[in-house]
Symmetry: C2
Subunit: 560 residues, 2 copies
């Protein structure tokens, strides 16, 4: 084969496939490029699907980003929709393709094959799930159309969302937008399972304040159906019944690896197709990109599945180039940066959560700060809660999570960028970020978190985890009496209240020989108080990380 | 002296001084810390001053961030406002201080001295400037109060702003907010002189569309006054008269280095006080932070003045720690990251502009892209123009500039962060940034700019600067005929219009032996067309950087 006339076959248009195809064409005008897609739409904005259901993206056509016509005209791609690859024959270098329209099959030869089969929503096997009317998953345009129709024709205007991950929460919001009464159940005891539990408490509270029934730590047992086999609700493991004629299952995805497995391609530990730095699988003529493959995960250096659109697009682009030319840049480690809007709140993360670090057996510490997204004196200031995780021995940043109304995406992107270069928390302290009152502060939340982490590393400001047991410690609450009475320190009835500004003159009220923890609203005054006590001969003084605010969240969600 | 009881004197509360003082206290409870400030307010939000004049920050008290009382109570600082340091006596280690109230002086001993004198607005010497009523600069609370009073009592409601830098543009916006008819003059032929001229054209057009008279390339000759010596306007060098009873001079600042110079401290090439990595001046017992000193500038590694609030705060913090303990982390190079809101537009930059790189004699290239701040299919998408500058030989990122309605700050902060680690454009390609439809795109503007730069480096997609002379080249405009007729390619009447989707079938209309440039709306379709022509045997094919959109800006601002 001449490289110029290489025949590239791509399986799956979404999640990297279209990106691979268009890059391959730009790299090689002479290549034959065949794009096989089993569905009707070769490429669409899958991240936008919930927003059309809710009407926020009013025009359905906007979701069809790269149409078949555009890909054919502009990129001279041989686009074959409703053509499903059913088998890879590595020996002959062909793909067996079935035309869905008439069921006929043919052998499609390839020189280079790119697998972008994506992933499929997980559907638990249980009574009623697969047959009941009104039960949906959301992955493609057809799914979306079905849900839209059901939403429009619904008479009870009640819906149940199972699974409080990204898609589940987006669906909750969009169904509320359509006037539905929505209940939400999640097997884990928190929404947004990839994040640490105390970080997502504001979302849980906000959902409940909006009248959404949120059941945490409770899984689905079965779909409850009427006599005509239409869903009327969901029974949870606890026996609770959530009612609604529409049930959305948002239980995560499983990679579509059957073709790869049947072809004997290697899978990794997390069940995705193994790829090297050029996205080649264990067969160098076969590439994989998107939700079905594994990438190198930055924080640990290990390969894993990271089913996100950004990495899929970038991987597709590189795979397309390598297939078309035999070379491309190496892939960059993926940080798993992700973000979701839930009504007026934004939650985002990059890298490891604290619980994930624990699962990995990493020696990690965290700091949590609460700071305005921009200057406090400028109108519209609202708090961001930012948690920064770092390696105890090296100070290397391992991850970050943030929640707030505004500016969350910026802070997570800044930290994700720093992590790409192996940044330590100390290096974050010196970042030169853009400051004017509408955009930030001279000391940005990223700086504040980094300062706090360095203080901790240097033994200058030891922190106590927000959910620590304070029994037997001398607890000094350095807020004003008014603040304390409004919002007492959770799980600590015997805190001594001395406002920070009076601390120096009231030291005799404290016992310097006892192990002491100071606490304030979010940790800033606590740090000042801690430094005073440390230098006044107190034996051991810690500052409660995030103060009373984060402790209230760590102590468990408030009951609605 | 014992380190514990070190006596630290700090000159100037704003621009790093208060930051130094509070950090010094937290580091050393036993130190004596004296904060001298010649003005009434020891610390205030100087970046917020314009917004109070316009009423956007309604409550004046909000600007007084760290009050004298707070600093005394919480940090046990000896705050002496209206006490001016008039001389540093290095031999005796004292500062001569004058009490402004009664004119008396005293000698204040120090062990460690921190200079944070800030900078003063530049006022050109010319007829009328210094004595005329209605002529203002804006640097402190007193200036602000004076302008507020004049604005409130103004009868003509006309104002002239001289200087279109950050403060000048903020003042234009805030005066318009107060119902003023405003005219703006700038000596250079563009607003926001630190940025490249074509980048700021949207601001110039927006200002004119709002009815503001914008005079570029025209400096101030004199203040025009009435018989009672009140300003009635400004005469420009061209002879033009701008009328208004309020004249704001926003002509930049000059560092307050007199004390340092008199004390024989070393100044750097740009006229700021020389400091080392711990902010020590040429006298190791004297530190400097803020607008009067020089920092290491990241893109060049050279020391220079960078009068911005963020670096001042971080430098103050480090200086305070070092003065109090004898050690601190090293300063990080400063990138000069800056941002400004002008009505509904945001402009920001980090590192070098292209013109600054040229002045430095650096071999640099740039790419300019126009891309949505978030997914195009999501409501509210609006374009960001992003210009990325990099070293021709190494691909190292040297700077970035961006302008748009939303999301500008995030992209500049991401690039500033990458620059802190010496990033190359290739490394930007792999950044894992947060993507969901309301926040970004799977291929973020940062990625798009980086991809374009890598294509340029790899000879895969050579770019032609937007303002290039296209005479004698074969110019192919690959937009649709409707686009071309609506917005013809500036300065090029003989472009051949072949829409990209028809290019392959109309190649015979072009001459493959001629040097060819392709152009589209912003450069994306141009790249596709370029790749086709390059591989179809065309001799030399460049893509016009930023397409017709950026060329229109580079060809000079449209006349209002």
């Amino acid at each position: 084969m001449s490289e110029k006339t290489v025949r590239i076959v791509i399986i799956g248009g979404v999640a990297g496939g279209a990106s691979a195809a268009t890059r391959a064409r730009r790299c090689n005008e002479h290549a034959e490029i065949i794009l096989l897609e089993k569905d009707e739409h070769v490429s669409f904005a899958n991240c936008g699907l919930p927003y059309h259901i809710g009407g926020e993206i009013a025009d359905r056509a906007k979701l069809l980003v790269a149409t078949r016509e555009l890909l054919q005209k502009r990129f001279r791609l041989d686009v074959r929709t409703r053509h499903e690859a059913v088998k890879i024959n590595r020996g002959q270098k062909t793909v067996t393709v079935q035309c869905i329209a008439d069921g006929s099959t043919y052998e499609q030869p390839y020189d280079k094959l790119i697998l972008s089969p994506g992933a499929a929503p997980f559907v638990p096997s249980m009574d009623g799930t697969e047959t009941a009317k009104g039960v949906f998953t959301l992955r493609n345009i057809a799914d979306m159309d079905r849900i839209c129709a059901a939403v429009t024709s619904s008479t009870d205007k009640k819906a149940v969302v199972i699974g409080a991950g990204f898609i589940g929460l987006e669906m909750v919001e969009q169904l509320v937008r359509r006037g539905f009464q929505v209940s939400l159940a999640e097997l884990l005891p928190q929404v947004l399972p990839p994040m640490d539990p105390e970080m997502v408490v504001p979302i849980q509270e906000d959902l409940r304040n909006r009248g959404i029934q949120v059941e945490l730590g409770d899984g689905i047992r079965r779909i409850v159906t009427s006599t005509d086999n239409a869903a009327t609700g969901v029974e949870l493991t606890s026996g609770k019944i959530l009612t609604g004629s529409i049930v959305i299952l948002g239980l995560g995805v499983r990679p579509n690896t059957r073709l790869a497995v049947d072809a004997g391609l290697q899978l990794g530990k997390t069940g995705g197709i193994t790829t090297n730095q050029y996205l080649q699988t264990s067969d160098p003529d076969i590439y994989a990109a998107g939700d079905a493959c594994e990438y190198v995960y930055g924080p640990t250096g290990e390969s894993m599945r990271i089913p996100l659109a950004g990495p899929a697009n970038r991987a597709g682009r590189l795979a397309g180039q390598h297939a078309a030319t035999g070379q491309c840049d190496s892939t960059s480690p993926v940080m798993g940066t992700a973000i979701v809007r839930v009504f007026e709140l934004t939650a985002a993360m990059t890298g490891l959560s604290q619980k994930a670090a624990k699962r990995c057996g990493l020696n990690a510490r965290s700091v949590t700060i609460v700071a305005g997204q921009h200057a406090g004196y400028f109108p519209g200031a609202s708090p961001i809660t930012l948690k920064l995780l770092y390696a105890t021995d090296t100070g290397k940043v391992l991850g970050a999570q943030a929640i707030g109304r505004d500016g969350v995406d910026k802070r997570i992107d800044v930290i994700a960028t720093a992590m790409a270069f192996g940044a330590t928390v100390r290096q974050l302290c010196g970042l030169d970020l853009a400051y004017a009152p509408p955009y930030g502060s001279a000391k940005d939340p990223v700086h504040q978190a980094a300062f706090t982490a360095c203080n901790q590393i240097d033994g200058f400001g030891e922190l106590l985890d927000p959910d620590s047991d304070l029994t037997s410690m001398q607890v000094v609450d350095v807020r004003t009496a008014a603040e304390v009475s409004k919002n007492p320190l959770a799980g600590c009835s015997d805190a001594i209240n001395i406002p920070v500004d009076e601390l120096r003159s009231r030291l005799t009220e404290l016992d310097p020989t006892r192990s002491t923890v100071v606490s304030c609203g979010v940790g800033i005054r606590g740090h000042v108080a801690q430094r005073i006590l440390m230098q006044k001969g107190f034996r051991k003084v810690a500052n409660l990380s995030g103060g009373a605010t984060i402790r209230a969240r760590a102590a468990g969600p408030k009951q609605a």
